[in-house]
Amino acid sequence: MKLKLTFNYLFLIVFAIVALFPFYWMFTTAFSQHTFISDPQIIPIPFYSGAIRDVVFRHSFLRWIFNTALITGIAAIGNVLVASLAAFAFACIRFKGRDLIFYVLLSTMILPGFLMIVPRFFIMAKLGWLDTYQGVFVVFWFVMFSTFLLRQYYLSISSDTLNAARIDGCSLWKMYTKLILPMSKPVLLTLFIIRFVQVWNSFLWPVIVLRSNQMKTLTVGMSEFYGIYMTEYNKIMAGGLISLIPIILIFIFFAKQIEKGLQFQLKT
């Protein structure tokens, strides 16, 4: 048994090194003078803080962080709420056309995002939402990915529980708020984290909608470092590192709840 345990640990440690080395390299490149990728410097000598300085001060980097955080937060929360509403209905309630509607909605996930940019852009132009926060986050609210995931979880809730609640006089809404939401809090949190990361790293949609420097998100702003003639890799790595920080903070902050969420058990 002990052997199995140490083997387990060994495997995990090796995998962890593999997972972490690239970040170490990102770190050393960010503090180097290289504007191209070459042999990685294991020790960051000479230490050059120009890239970080440039990134933070010669661009509106802090503003970008704010924009990204705002847009991502609203997008993730909104999506989780809308999706859980729909997932509850799809999973737990029998109604006419349920399966058909579900699969048809699911098919909207298949078409690649960049093809849909054109019509969505026109919609946003008509609404006057170009270069605004809502132009970006509203699109992320209506994504079937979340509904799909939540539905798979909610499928395990037995009708008996729900019917019992009904006998107690619960309306659908009460069922949702008093029963489903609290029970699935951990999954919702997990989903929130997943969506948060996805929106945080999104590029194709924000870059098209957001124009002015004050409105850009991190991925958009950092793409400026990919010049036509020169790609400033040290700035890219520096920016990449800095944009990791808020996410890592969120992870740490929610660590306890995430742990609980990964331990959650559905009532039977």
């Binding site: 504007t35 026109f122 132009a125 170009l130 870059v207 098209i208 420097n213 400026e224 010049g227 036509i228």
Partner: protein, 428 residues
Amino acid sequence: MFKKCVVGMLVIGLIFSLGIASFAEKTKLLVYERLDGCLEDTTEKLEIAFEEEFPDIDITIETFVPKTYQNEILLLAASGKLDADVIYSVSDFRLNVFVNGGIIIPLDELLEKSGIDISKYPQRLFQAGTRNGKLYGFPQRPQPRGTVNYNQDLFDELGIPYITRETTWEEFKGYLRKLTLKDEDGTVIRYGCLDKYPQLDLLYLFGGRMVDDPFNPTEVVFGEDLVKVFGEFLEMAEEGLMMPLPVYKALGGSKPKIFAEEKVATIITHLGYRGGFATASFRWDAELIPAPNGVFGGAHTDLMGWSINAKSKNPEVAFKWIKWSTFSPIAQNIYDSQWEVNSNKMSYVTELNETFAEIADQRQPAGWRCVYEAQKNVVVFPIFEGSGDFMNKYWEATWGVLYDGNSLETLLEAEKEMQRLLDEALAK
């Protein structure tokens, strides 16, 4: 940080004083710029300097992400929300799209009124922005291709004179022989030069010649001379003076990288790379050099300058920006200062510089409609110029790539063949 504060205070001060001083309506001007790096203090400085010279104009410059700039403009135009007066435009097929879509206006009248004498500049630069006989794009930042970037420190070390506009091609080849470093086995450690477009070598192998129209060639343009040029390049490759494409890719495929690492002593490319080469630790400079037939000494204008939005309410005012940003030394200084380049290195100049005119103008065959025709029924477009079916032509046209008729299959085959030949050259 301090600089930013000063600039910020200047801006506030300026706005404040202007606001109090004049209740008169100022003309508003919106410019969409596309800058590598998009450093914000650059645009702030440009705005301030411009408003100093034209106090009755209130200018805003917005920089877009270079990668998606064209898409953004297209989408904005298609949804009717293109509000800028001046947009940065590029002289390739996208200009055709904008012209045919009616979103930009011809600049000829405005040009005449402005009194700029363009006859002393390379006409091709203006031709690049001309469609249907009218000028739609004003070349603020054309990019001469055929600029040799050379490692000055290395030249010093080997006692080679610096490259000037008087350097002949033969002399240049002589330098390359000195610059190329091989070890005992004959493997090249440091190449004399790099040219990233050796597809032309292949063209030469197929006995290429340049004609004026791919489908109905009537005139042979610089036929034998062209073959001679390509022959030159091929010879250079065979002598080991020129880094072959596969080696370039294996070393990372980045011009700044191989230059900084001294894997090549000179790089023939266009002027836009100066920012990238700034990372080299040695002194370097750049000069236009006429290739034997000057094909590479010519100016290739794939980046350009300005167009004026058809919806602009103040086209004359818009043209003032065009004129100022292109010719004003103050503007040029600001554009220069964007890159943290060391002294003695080339800075960002306007290529509408008279001295470029001598060399640049003579060389490249007229217009963009140049086509190379090879013997085996394989046709090459260096660039294409569109009317009508330009989308098809774009697919078929690349820089010096071979293809057969309308089929991209053959293009793929031709590229593979080229790769194979180059691999052979490398293996020798």
